[in-house]
Amino acid sequence: MSLPKVDDIHTNSELISEVFNQLLDSIIVDVASECHRITKLGLDRNLDEEEEELRLFAEARARSSDPSHSGESNSKYVVDMFGQTHPPIASEIFNCMNCGRSIMAGRFAPHLEKCMGKGRKARQKSTRAAQNQNSKGSTVSNRLSNGGSANAGHEYSNGTYEEA
């Protein structure tokens, strides 16, 4: 049953492919049997639910982004799990603990920087005293002494303040 040489080479490649296919088939059967087991035991129930949730969440975002204006980012208008929507700028009002004025929560950060030290007027008043106390050159005093420059940080329209 010996084959001629030309056929040997031909068969060699086929042999090798065949070995590979057998390995692959065996692995395929393993994967299929494992998935079958998971399905029958219901172990994939959690996975299904998670995927559903993710999909619904993505759909909710997409749906809510269409009717509203496209300027703001979507996350501000999406309904949360209690069914509430929140406006992009927090509108609760309270009293500032530094100067005692009534401030809107969404504008608290820029108020604080004026109230506590970025603005020129505030700086002259109380922060000179604070600077003398913190004479070790901490970042607080650095920030306070920046009052003169206009580029200490950027102020975004939604009320958050970010240091440059």
Binding site: M1, L15, T39, K40
Partner: protein, 112 residues
Amino acid sequence: MKASIKRPPSPDAEIDRNREPTTVQATVNMKLIESEEKERLKELLREKLVECGWRDEMKSVCREIARKNGRKNVTVDELVDAITPKGRASVPDSVKADMLHRIRSIVGSTSL
């Protein structure tokens, strides 16, 4: 139950079912199995397929089928039939090339 006792144990029968039977094929197979190279190759291939995400793809296909046809009605044969063509087609070329290369070097070193 009785049928399972009569199932042929030798690997040759599998080859007969699939393709044209060649003694060379059977010999190669036996040599591989005896030297445990086949097991090693299989484990290596399994690792590679996990790494490249092939296994996860196949598992999600299985889940889809289970979802469509209903959990209770799924059989192993159904899944195997569904996955085999997709599985064979979606093996990354690099993985396949590497495996073929390894097999060739192993088969080449065994006397035929």
